[in-house]
C-alpha cells in the first residue's frame, strides 16, 4: 500500500452488494502471478463487473464479468479495487 494512487479507491470487489455494478480500477497485489492470472481472466482496469452470488458460507463469491462467471475468495477480491457504476 506504499504507493500513492491518483485516485484512492477504498471500495473493493469484496464490498460489492448483489445488484451493484462496478468498474475495476486496480489490482493491488505484489504477487505477479496472481495479477497476471487475473488479467488473463479479464480482470483489468476499466472492465465492468457485478456480484452474481455468494457461497452458502459467504465465501467465496461469484462475479460476473465479460459474460462469464468467476469464483473468487473474499481475500483475493479485497485486492481488486472497484468504483461503483450508477
Amino acid at each position: 500500500m506504499g504507493t500513492v494512487h491518483q485516485i484512492t479507491p477504498d471500495l473493493t470487489l469484496a464490498d460489492l452488494r448483489p445488484g451493484q455494478q462496478g468498474e475495476i480500477v486496480k489490482i493491488d497485489s505484489e504477487d505477479k502471478t496472481f495479477k497476471r492470472r487475473m488479467s488473463s481472466l479479464g480482470v483489468i482496469p476499466g472492465g465492468p463487473v457485478a456480484l452474481d452470488r455468494s457461497a452458502p458460507l459467504g465465501d467465496p463469491r461469484i462475479y460476473n464479468l465479460m459474460g462469464y462467471n468467476l469464483g473468487l475468495r473474499n481475500a483475493e477480491a479485497q485486492m481488486i479495487h472497484v468504483r461503483l457504476k450508477s
Binding site: K32, I44, P56, P60, M66, Y68, N69, L70
Partner: protein, 703 residues
Amino acid sequence: MTSSVTVALVGNPNAGVTSLFNALTGANNPVANYPRVTTSSATREITHKGVVLRFVDVPGIYSVNSQADDEKVGQDFLLDQSPDVIVNVVDAGHLDRHLFLTTQLIETGIKRITVLNMIDEVRRHGTVLDTEMLASALGAPVVETCALKGEGVDVLLDTIVAQVAAPAADAIRLHYDTHLEAAIVRIQDHLANLHPQELTPARSRWLAIKILEGDDTIINRESDHPELIALVTKERDHLAHEHDEDAATMLATSRFAFVNGLLREARQQHDDPDQRFKLTRILDNFFLNRAFGLPLLLLIMWVMFETTFSLGAVPTEWIKSGVDALTKFVDDTLPAGMFHDLVVNGVLAGVGGTIVFLPNIVILFFFMAILSGTGYLARASFLMDRVMHKFGLHGTTLIPMVAGFGCNVPAVMASRIITNKRSRLIAILISPFMSCSARLPTFILFAGAFFADLAGTVVFAIYMLSIASAILSAVVLNRLIPGSGSDAFVMDLPPYRLPTLHSVLHHMWDSAQGFVAKVTGVILVGSIIIWFLQEFPKDVAYSQDYDAGIVQLEGQPDGADKDEALRSLKAAQAQEKLEKSYMGRVSIAVTPVFKPLGFSWHESSAIMTGFVAKEVVVATYAVIYAQDKGSTGWTDAIKAAMPTATAVAFMIFTLLYAPCLSTIAIIAKESGSWKWAAFSVAYSLSFAWLLALAAVTIGRLLV
C-alpha cells in the same frame, strides 16, 4: 519416409480443446464441463489428403505467460516445441475472454487457424458473427465448429492442410499505446543487435513484448546480457511511473481493448448474454442456494451411492444366477479331483464372486459422468471451498477427490489442477483415501450381509468417512510438511451443459471394460494363486491323528452325541489343514497385528492380497469360503464368521489401508519421489489400523 506436420490445439481451459482433438483424430480422451480436465499433452497422428498431421492436445491456458504451475505444460509446449500450425480453439460464447489468448498467439508469428467452437450454442440464441472480418483482423482463417457433434471438422482438416502449404504470411501487429510501443521498439532493437541475423522482426518483437511483460523464462534465457536486463528494468520503471500501472497490466488492457473493438464490428447480431445464461442462473439459484446448497450436495451424494447399491442389485442377481448355473454345470461335468477343485473353488469362485459387482461399478461411473459433464462438479468445489479452506485445502481439490471415487490413479494425476506445489503434494497424498471403485465390491458385500435394508446408507457413510479421512489427513499433513501458502481460489464456472449421450455411455463402457479386464486378469490369476496357497501343502502334520479318531468314533453306537462329535472333529481337522496351508501360515504370522481389531486370518489374507489391487479382497473371500458356502451362499458364511463390529472395522480398514500398487507408482511419479510413496503406505496403514480399532472398540460397547 513422410515427414509429419505438428498441429497444436491450443485454447483456454474448458474451450473444448479435447473434444475437438477427439473429433479430429477419433480419440476418446476424457472430456467434462469444468476447467482443466486435461493435465498432460496427448498426441495422435492422422493422414488427411496425403499429409500426415500430428495433433497435440495442449492442456488449457488462459495466457501464454501467466507462469502459473498449472499452465506450465501448455506454455512450455508453445515456447519449446514451435508447432507448424496452431489451431486456436475459442469458445464462441466467450469470445471477449478467449480472444485474449489469441492476441498473444498472433505475436508468436506461428501459422494459425482460429476455431470458433460450440458455435451451435451462440447460433441458437441468434448471434451472427462476421467470420471473414474476424479472419482478416486476426490474420488467420476462421472455422466454425461444434466439436461434440463433429460439425465443421472436415472443413477444419481441409483448412489445416491448406494452411500447411500456404506461405508464411506477415504477422498481424497489435498496436499499443505510444509509450508502450516506444518501449517495445527499443527493447526489440536491442534484442536484434544482440542476436544479429538470428531473429525475424516478428520474432524479436514477440520476445520484446514478452520480456516487457515480465516473462521469467525468456529473461532467464537472456541473463548473460546485463545491459538488456538494465534496459528492460528502466523501461518498466518508466512505464509504471508514467501510468501508475505495471507494463503487464497495460499490455493486457491493450489486448482486451483490441478484442473489444474487434468484436464490436464482427458481431453483426449480438444475443443477450443474460438470456443465454438464464438457465444457468436458474439452476445456480437452486444448486448454489444459500440455505440448501450444501445439504443438497450431501443429498446428491447419498442418492448416488444409494442408487449404486440398490439399482445395481437387480442386474447383479442376473449375473449371479448365470455364474451359479455355470458353476453347477462345471461342478457336475468335471471329474472329481484337483482340477475340478481348482476350477470350481478357485477360478469360478474368485472370478464369479467379483464379476457380479460389475453393475454397481457401471452405475457409479454413470453418476460421475453426469456430475462432471453437467458442470455441477465445478459448483461443488465452489460450495465446499470455505469448508475445505478451513482444513487447509482448496475447493478445487474436490475435483481430484471425486475423480478418486473412480480410481485413485487419475485422481493423483488430476491434482495437477492445483497450482501451489505444497498444496498439490497434500492433494496427492490424500488421494488414496478416496474410496475407489475397486473397493466398492467389498462394501457392497459386507454392507449387504450385515446391514440388509440400510446397506445403501452404510455404503454412503463409508464414502463420507473416506472424504473425512482425506480432509483429516490434510490437516495432519499441513502440520507435517514444512512450508506454507495456499492458492487463491480462482475458478471460472462454466455454464451448465447437458453431457452428450456418447460421452456418458463411453465413460460407463470404459469403466466396464476396465473392470472386466481386471477380473479376467489380476483377479483370475490371483484366485488361482490363492486357491493353491490355501490348498497346499496337501499333507499336513496334524497335531492329532484325526483320521484314527474319526474311524474310532464311527465304530461307536449311533446317536446324536456321535454325530456331533464327528462333525466337530472333522471341522477341527479342516480348520487345522487351512491354518497349516501356506496361506494360513503366512496369514497367522501377521494376524497378531490385526488381533486387536478382531480380524481372523481370513481377513489378514484378504488384506494382504488386496495390496496388489483392491478388487482381490472380495475374490479372496470368495475363494476362502468357496468350500463351505453350501446352499446359502457366502454372504451368510461371512455373516456367521464375525460380529458386526468386526465387519465394520474390516470395511474401514479396507477403505483406508495402503494404496494399491498402481497408485503407489503414480504417487512416486507425480510427487517426484519414492519417499512420498513409501510415506503414503506407512501413513495410510497406521491411519487405517487406528480408525478400525476405534470402530471395533465402539462397536463392542454398543452391542
